[in-house]
Subunit: 136 residues, 4 copies
């Protein structure tokens, strides 16, 4: 099924500037999925009380959600494209997505929601890195 | 396939407070899809130049994207739930989603991206209203 | 000193649509101040561990930050103004700002950061209500 | 007057991790001022019609607003601090803030709101670079 992300890319009336449409669509989808998972995971960790000391996990979740949301918005715009901004945000997003599962390995053993979120982060980091590799 | 939204809801360790899980998952998914579609549509309208005077369309797109993003975040949290905040945001989100297609009917005739975005808004408005109806 | 908020309002090239410029500027300023205070307060509460059970406080902080940020963005746009969207967001923002200090009264006794944040919420709620009263 | 930003920093209950409090407070303040100015400038440009072709200006404004908002949120959190994430976001934010006035020099001659916004971007870029220089 074509998601709205792909449908919107397909209907963009001008040129996408040489960026791969498949890699772009996937990256937008992973960014919005990861932002949602991180917001939900911070909340789920909060509801656990202090089991396993989730402090750093919650904080990184919140950063990752904010950064993924901003990255998805930047990637959803094609008009007046600036490769430097896109590259810097993909770098920041991959950094945040990577920080989280590194931190959270012990939680992922403990909390199922951390496991689901770590997978969303992993997919998002990969999609950011792959899209960045296609930039000139 | 279970999306991360549903997986995250399934792994929430505490009680969801009587809110319907299906309606909640659908509403979160429609909010994040609509936010992305509106961001992309504002950008696509911008690239059209002034064809069909997209000014109000672009502005409402931007509001709708910001409000849908905030609503998705509020709905993704279940800990320390406050029905008044959820109700007010669902109301604001449905209002923004409804304003856009009303405005944009003429653009939707003209621009394919407006048609895709109008459908995302319609689904999101419907999901917000259905979830709101389940609140006490 | 004229803040950028007021300077930007002063340079808006078209008509502000009858909305009071002073009430508007103040409301935007309180929304962005409150969003920042709530983000910082959630983080400060998190660093306290579970002293005084800050769970609901942290969650409401996060909602309030997201809603204030979206409200500030909606209020910063004047082109293609839609009173229904503005009214609904001011309602949601005042609801979130009010929920927080109600919840947090006991924390404010305990934590200085909650006291500062409660004051930011109070000013933001007041500004939202005053601006809403000027809408037709 | 102590802004809420400084008051919140002053009441943070744990250690700020060696980051300069003055540089941090200034950077948060410039980020939230710049985000608001960029949102308002995109809207003001939109209301001008196509005078001076503001297309790229509007798009970069929108990116810059999203990135500044995310950066302000990341900088407002101190618990579980990760220097790599902070550094990458300061880099992305400075890149976006720099792109805008470069693009917009001709608009700034034409539109007063672009002049105010360019100054907010310049101050934000400077504050991001100064804070980044203090990171290890």
């Amino acid at each position: 099924m074509a998601t709205p992300v792909k449908k919107m890319l397909n209907t963009y009336p001008a040129d996408l500037g040489g960026l791969g449409q498949e890699a772009m669509a996937r990256c937008i989808e992973e960014c919005i999925a990861c932002a949602q998972a991180c917001t939900a995971c911070a909340d789920a960790c909060l509801s656990e009380g202090m089991v396993g000391d989730p402090t750093k996990c919650i904080r990184t979740d919140m950063d990752c959600a904010d950064i993924c949301t901003a990255t998805a918005a930047v990637l959803s715009r094609h008009t007046g494209y600036d490769a430097d901004i896109t590259r810097a945000m993909l770098q920041a997003c991959a950094t945040a997505c990577k920080a989280w599962p590194d931190e959270c390995a012990s939680h992922a053993d403990m909390h199922e929601h951390c496991r689901v979120c770590a997978e969303a982060c992993r997919l998002c980091e990969q999609a950011c890195n792959e899209l960045r590799a296609t930039l000139g």
